[in-house]
């Protein structure tokens, strides 16, 4: 059994309302009798004077409840998932989004989805094959098409939900690419809480989840400058009803702030908490924790952590013909190490946290952190289609960490590359993108569309600030990364390191090409990478400000007729929709109630 629009089940609240209306004794029904003599002589019962009446065996009430219940359940679009015959391939897609950890379905939405997928695997017939795909932020195939039930079950058992929104659409497309032509069906288990689901051929969605009851911390960030620091906490109520949310912030385990927020339905609130900077504070990172004490369906986002100490600026390699502005700034900024080279030798880059490529053609970039100035590599989703003459800066994103305290007014640019990005974020824009940010494929990059010599930016105060912010963000693997992102840390000559997970699990990592490549971070929290000469902490944050939205969405209407009307050969699983029968039953019950009420001459209705 599956529900196409489980949110409609909220309509079942109308049933108690019906009963409550029935209980209210609005008006007594007049009933003529031959004589009230004997009724007057019988002792009055307490029920006769009660303001409400008891629920009795009322056919009308039963029919009303039946009609309302059938209507609501019908609107939830239930369907029976049955086993079809004939299809040879079944692609099972599981959505591991954070919202799938919600407990409105017992034990969780993800566990329910996995149980249904295991049931589907159990019903495979000899000769039929199935595959398991996890709709993680980067969809992965957990088990390719196979008839080996044990392997499929093991893949499903190993699947874990993530603390980030998954890419359901991408996983469905991936499944469609894996599916053999014609004779296949793709079943996607998701809650559809992160936007509309694409209607694709051969794709059937099973929507799990019934509630939107969640309040979560969507951001915890420390903002600091040399004089002061403050913590920014954002709490959002994803539910439709108002909640009172007690918030507590701890610094190194000590409570420093408590407040109770009154949040309306769908409302969010940001709280700024000043933090004292103590010069004599002990060395080492301090942990800032925020916690809300509110019972909801998704407790995973009720806590957040951040590192109070600034991430140390990384070691920097400048690759290019030479740039006195950059070299001077690198001498001033507290970078771990700075070096310069004119030759493009990728093998030398791995020991540096950030590589600045200044007007050189680097070729395909290996995973790493890059500041690209006046150049575009071939393996990023951005291209240069020409030269912009005298572009002016129109807007820039002052909220982005890279542009914090950066004032680009009066900056003149003589010429710049005409960038054409697909993806990433444009941070500074004029006649075209002038500063573009990208994270993905193991690469974190900032692309400045113009050479410093082609502008007066190095002469502005904004330049050293921009450089400091850029290096801090590019080297931010030690500070904050969203869950699901690939993290690589320069090995610094260490052959081996230990990765400590938030739950206490420890994993030994071997350096590959001078880099420690961390496994995908599935959980939010503080991670620590240690080696004899290395101690890096970084925080994995819940990806996306809407990751805590758990309101189940609706499955798109089938791309092709399915269910009872579909041919059995369309898939291993068939969906028999029940809602037409339920709506028919609701209409029949309503008509029956009306007929009965009319026949009773204005009876109980």
């Amino acid at each position: 059994m599956t529900l196409g629009a489980p949110a409609a089940l909220w309509g079942l609240c109308a049933v108690p309302l019906l009963v409550a209306l029935y209980l209210l004794r609005v008006r007594r029904r007049e009933h003529p009798v031959s004589s009230i003599l004997l009724w007057q002589r019988s002792a009055p019962t307490p029920a006769a004077s009660r303001p409400t009446r008891r629920i009795e065996r009322s056919v009308l009430l039963a029919l009303q409840v039946l009609a309302a219940g059938a209507l609501v359940v019908g609107l939830a679009r239930p369907a029976i998932v049955g086993r079809g015959a004939g299809a040879q391939a079944l692609l099972l897609v599981l959505d591991p989004s954070l919202s799938m950890r919600a407990r409105d379905v017992v034990p969780t939405r993800f566990d329910r989805a996995r149980a249904e997928a295991l049931q589907a695997v159990g019903s495979l017939r000899p000769g039929q094959r199935a595959a398991v795909i996890l709709a993680a932020p980067h969809p992965v195939v957990l088990a390719p098409l196979s008839g080996d039930r044990g392997r499929l079950r093991a893949a499903l058992a190993a699947a874990r939900p993530w603390d980030a929104p998954g890419d359901v659409a991408g996983a469905a497309v991936l499944a469609a690419q894996l599916a053999p032509a014609g004779d296949a069906r793709i079943v996607v288990w998701t809650d559809g809480s992160h936007g509309p689901l694409p209607a694709l051929p051969r794709v059937v969605y099973r929507i799990v989840g019934t509630s939107d009851d969640n309040v979560g911390i969507t951001a915890l960030r420390v903002v600091r400058d040399p004089q002061r620091a403050e913590a920014l906490v954002r709490v959002e109520n994803f539910a439709g009803s108002a909640r009172r949310v007690p918030l507590e912030v701890r610094r190194a385990g000590t409570p420093i702030y408590r407040v109770t927020l009154a949040l309306g339905g769908g409302e969010s609130r940001a709280v700024a908490i000043p933090l004292a900077l103590e010069p004599g504070a002990p060395a080492g990172p301090e942990l800032l924790e925020a916690r809300i004490a509110v019972p909801d369906a998704l407790p995973e986002d009720n806590e957040a952590v951040a590192l109070l100490d600034p991430a140390p600026l990384p070691s920097v390699l400048l690759v290019g013909p030479g740039n006195p502005y950059i070299e001077r700034v690198l001498r001033l900024l507290p970078v771990a190490r700075a070096a310069r080279t004119q030759t493009v030798d990728v093998s030398t880059w791995r020991t540096f946290g950030v590589v600045i490529l200044d007007r050189v053609d680097p070729g395909p970039l290996p995973p790493g952190n890059y500041l690209l100035i006046g150049t575009v590599p071939p393996n990023l989703p951005v291209g240069a289609s020409g030269i912009l003459a005298r572009p002016t800066i129109a807007t820039w994103d002052r909220t982005d960490p890279v542009l914090q305290f950066v004032d680009l007014d009066d900056v003149r640019i003589d010429r710049a590359l005409a960038l054409g990005p697909s993806g990433g974020r444009v941070l500074v824009e004029g006649q075209g993108p002038l500063l573009w940010e990208y994270t993905g494929r193991g690469i974190r990059a900032l692309v400045l569309a113009f050479a410093l010599q082609d502008s007066d930016l190095p002469l502005h105060v904004a330049f050293p600030v921009l450089m400091a912010n850029s290096l801090a963000w590019l080297g931010g693997a030690a500070g904050e990364v969203p869950v699901g992102e690939a993290v690589q840390v320069p090995a610094g000559g260490e052959p081996e390191a230990a990765l400590l997970f938030p739950g206490g699990r420890r994993l030994r990592l071997r350096a590959t090409d001078g880099m420690f490549v961390l496994p995908p971070l599935e959980r939010a929290g503080v991670y620590r990478l240690t080696a004899p000469s290395l101690d890096r902490r970084f925080v994995a944050t819940i990806g996306g400000s809407h990751a805590g939205a758990i309101r189940p969405g609706a499955a798109p209407l089938p791309h092709a007729p399915s269910g009872a009307a579909a041919a059995p050969s369309e898939g291993l699983l068939t969906e028999v929709p029940l809602w037409p029968w339920l709506l028919l039953g609701a209409v029949a019950a309503a008509v029956g109630e009306w007929a009965l009420a009319t026949r009773r001459h204005g009876g109980e209705a």
Binding site: V33, S34, A43
Partner: protein, 303 residues
């Protein structure tokens, strides 16, 4: 018999079929006391006279008819005795039918059953040359048909009863008083009523006893009055008085009603027993034929 009396009446189809009427002709009304009639009939009178049924002897007195001297006794005792014979006179049968609005209850209605029973008893009376009076009573004077005699008036009786329609309120005492005040002969009073009279039934029945009528009470109740089929919150409205009572018809209320009903019926039974009133209680759903041929015979009204 005159040809007119021999004419078989054709009763209204709504009351009885001819076969049932033939069965009724085999029956007669029982009068537990001798009655004083007006004409010769087929039952013993309180007046000893010229009947054919021997009753007693008495000493001859001057002026007695010589034909009634029992000469056998004269020969044996040498004294003159005359034979006394019971006068066979007719019986005054008064049929009082409650036609108030409450009698419209039931399936068939209580009034319909009362009319059929009255028709049967009246027909038996007419066949046996009794004088039959029938009246419908409510709080207001109702229609009446007085002192019918002979089989030939059966049609009038049945037509009268078939046309009865419920109206008005019940006032048993007033109705009986009004009827008896205008009645000429004492005899058998058969009362058909549901006794659902807010003024009480006792005064009316005692009045009939005081006038020395042999009283037979047929108490008719509808099935819904014996066992109400009600549910929910109701405002019960009396069809006669339009008074109302609010109830919640749950199991507890129905139990209380049953208690009140039983107490009321026991009270009626005790009252009738104490005052020598024959009493028969029936539901309106019981067929009239069964009541006439079985229960009224067992109850001592018919033989």
């Amino acid at each position: 018999m005159t040809p007119a009396l021999d004419r078989e009446p054709t009763p209204p189809r709504t009351l009885f079929d001819p076969a049932f009427l033939q069965k009724l002709e085999q029956l007669s009304l029982i009068s537990r006391r001798r009655v004083r009639g007006w004409q010769r009939g087929e039952r013993r009178s309180t007046v000893q006279g010229r009947g054919i049924e021997f009753d007693d002897y008495r000493a001859y007195q001057p002026g007695d008819d010589y034909r009634y001297i029992d000469w056998n006794i004269v020969s044996r005792l040498d004294r003159l005795f005359v034979k006394l014979f019971s006068e066979e006179e007719d019986l005054d049968v008064h049929l009082l039918v409650d036609a108030s609005l409450s009698m419209a209850e039931g399936t068939p209605t209580k009034l319909a059953l009362a009319a059929r029973l009255a028709a049967a008893i009246g027909y038996i009376g007419l066949v046996n040359l009794d004088r039959v009076s029938v009246a419908a009573f409510t709080s207001a004077p109702g229609p009446r048909l007085g002192r019918l005699r002979g089989r030939g008036r059966a049609f009038d009786l049945l037509e009268f009863l078939a046309q009865l329609a419920p109206s008005g309120e019940t006032n048993l005492a007033l109705s009986i008083r009004r009827h008896l005040a205008s009645a000429r002969g004492r005899g058998l009073l058969v009362l058909f009523s549901d006794l659902l009279d807010p003024h009480g039934y006792e005064e009316g029945l005692l009045l009939a006893r005081r006038y020395r009528y042999q009283t037979f009470l047929v108490h008719i109740l509808a099935d819904d009055e014996l066992a109400p089929r009600l549910a929910g919150d109701l405002r019960l409205v009396d069809v006669e008085t339009h008074a109302a009572v609010e109830i919640t018809a749950d199991a507890e209320a129905l139990r209380a009603y049953a208690g009140a009903r039983d107490a009321y019926l026991r009270g009626v039974e005790r009252f009738c027993f104490r005052h020598g009133i024959d009493y028969l209680r029936t539901a309106s759903s019981v067929p009239a034929e069964d009541l006439v041929l079985r229960y009224l015979r067992q109850g001592g009204l018919l033989r």
